[in-house]
């Protein structure tokens, strides 16, 4: 089983990212479970969302305490003390940030996928909604699923012009992510 913990802020699409990721894995025949955790919904307030993926049905209903992969949508969250708590050894970090990462921000990290998803989102979608771009980066950096699975599921959530822009954002995420091995 793979456990993915997505950290963002209200309005950045963290919850939607977790759901889309789940749908993408279902496109490859996997079992999934995804849920967000936040108090009151506020644009800007921290949000965490969880997605579990496995070959057999997921039975756990708890939060994710020992993630295999972390997706950090807002770089300012990197200063949260407990951000990486419980990360498994050999863990993966997908980070939206304009700057690269020289050394791993946590000793359990062995793969980093860094991309300026905000810039790509503003260019492709016109607004700072970096979630789909990060999903593309996730596919490239982890290799746990193919890009086309992600692209195929965006249609469940978006339509028309917004869908097209998000597809391009995801593609650029896949192509332009800087994958770092530690």
């Amino acid at each position: 089983m793979k456990e993915i913990r997505i950290h963002g802020r209200g309005g950045q699409g963290a919850v939607l990212a977790a759901r889309m990721l789940a749908s993408a894995f279902v496109a490859e025949g996997k079992s999934v479970a995804s849920f967000p955790m936040y108090g009151f919904e506020r644009r800007g307030a921290p949000v965490v969302a969880f997605t579990r993926v496995d070959d057999k049905p997921i039975r756990e209903k708890t939060q994710i305490y020992t993630p295999d992969c972390m997706v950090v949508i807002d770089p300012t969250l990197m200063k949260l003390p407990a951000l990486f708590s419980g990360l498994k050894k050999g863990g993966v970090l997908i980070l939206n940030s304009p700057n690269t990462l020289k050394d791993p921000p946590n000793e359990n990290l062995s793969i980093g996928g860094v991309i300026d998803a905000t810039k790509i989102a503003v260019e492709e979608i016109g607004r700072d909604i970096p979630n789909t771009c990060l999903l593309g980066a996730f596919a490239a950096a982890t290799g746990w699923l193919e890009l086309k699975s992600i692209l195929s599921c965006l249609g469940e959530y978006l339509r028309g012009d917004i869908l097209q822009r998000n597809l391009r954002s995801a593609e650029r995420g896949f192509e332009q992510v800087e994958v770092i091995k530690w």
């Binding site: 309005g11 108090g39 009151f40 919904e41 506020r42 644009r43 800007g44 307030a45």
Partner: protein, 309 residues
């Protein structure tokens, strides 16, 4: 180098309490006029008020978190069904023990116009000595932009969506300020955040009239997220609501009506709706519907004001 003004805006003269009662960083969305509204109230009414609130957009700020709190005001929290009645309990106790306390209810339209309307109407009918401030963001915004009874005609919300079969809210909104004025309580008024001096005057009058009976202030308070307005335009939307007569500014003392701000030549409703995403789907016919409603309601309030001249 441009010449610097010497005087501050006149609104500051109405401040009884200069010191900010709230913490700097609060959980309201960027650009929300509710934050301005709530920070403004204790500056005019003073910091010795008791605020009564319920779960709504201001709950994450008015309620504490365990022992911590986000402000320095005396606060009583209750249910959406119990705001005006809880305030009655407080006010009646303070009257009984001879303490002059200003009890201020502070809710959204969901509480005031829908689930909490019955106790609100009851308290008004009993002319309880409390101030009830409703910030009307025309829907249940804290729970994610669902419709309320003050959601305007044809407006889109998550429970009155635009689809093949339906195009937004099919019914006109409840005219809550007028309904409350029909209780003929001590003082009822409408106000909004673009006209802060008008709001300040009404809060000062509210503090006086509360000693005679029930005071109801209905504050037009757009929701950037829910109405799909850019964060920087919430005050501008308030201004346009007044200028289009969509939200006329008036007051009623013991049932006698008076405009506090008359718009010489009101702009077409389109000048407001074009700023607001929830009206983006309006076709010509729906726009005319809305304009007709605005004209009818304005004519009604004008008649009531003229009757008092």
């Amino acid at each position: 180098m441009v010449e610097k003004l010497k005087k501050k805006p006149r609104v500051y003269d109405y401040f009884k309490e200069k010191e900010e009662q709230y913490a700097g960083g609060l959980a309201w969305c960027a650009g929300c006029p509710l934050e301005l509204n709530l920070r403004f109230v204790p500056k005019v009414l003073g910091k010795d008020i008791v605020i009564v609130g319920c779960p709504c957009c201001s709950a994450p700020i008015l309620y504490g978190q365990n022992v911590g709190t986000w402000h320095r005001l005396s606060y009583y929290s209750t249910l959406m069904t119990g705001v005006a009645s809880s305030a009655t309990g407080l006010a009646r106790y303070y009257q009984k023990v001879g303490k002059d306390v200003t009890v201020v209810c502070y809710t959204g339209d969901g509480c005031a116009a829908d689930v909490g309307f019955q106790p609100l109407s009851g308290a008004a009918e009993r002319n309880e000595k409390i101030i009830y401030i409703c910030y009307d963001n025309e829907g249940y915004m804290n729970t994610g932009v669902q419709r309320s009874s003050t959601t305007p005609l044809h407006a889109a919300t998550t429970t009155t969506p635009v689809g093949k079969e339906s195009r937004g809210k099919p019914t006109v909104p409840k005219n809550l300020p007028l309904i409350m004025a029909m209780h003929q309580t001590a003082y009822v008024a409408t106000a909004t955040l673009s006209h802060l001096e008008d709001l300040a005057k009404k809060l000062v009058k509210a503090a006086e009239k509360k000693n005679e009976g029930f005071v109801y202030l209905h504050v037009f308070c757009p929701c950037p997220v829910g109405w799909r307005i850019p964060s920087d335009s919430s005050i501008q939307v308030c201004r346009m609501a007044v200028r289009t007569n969509y939200f006329p500014l008036w007051e009623a003392e013991d049932g006698k009506f008076r405009f506090t701000h008359e718009v010489a030549s009101p702009r077409p409703i389109e000048e407001m709706t074009k700023l607001i995403g929830k009206f983006a789907h309006l076709k010509e016919d729906q726009l005319e519907d809305l304009q007709q409603m605005v004209n009818d309601r304005y004519a009604l309030i004008k008649t009531l004001c003229d009757a008092n001249k």
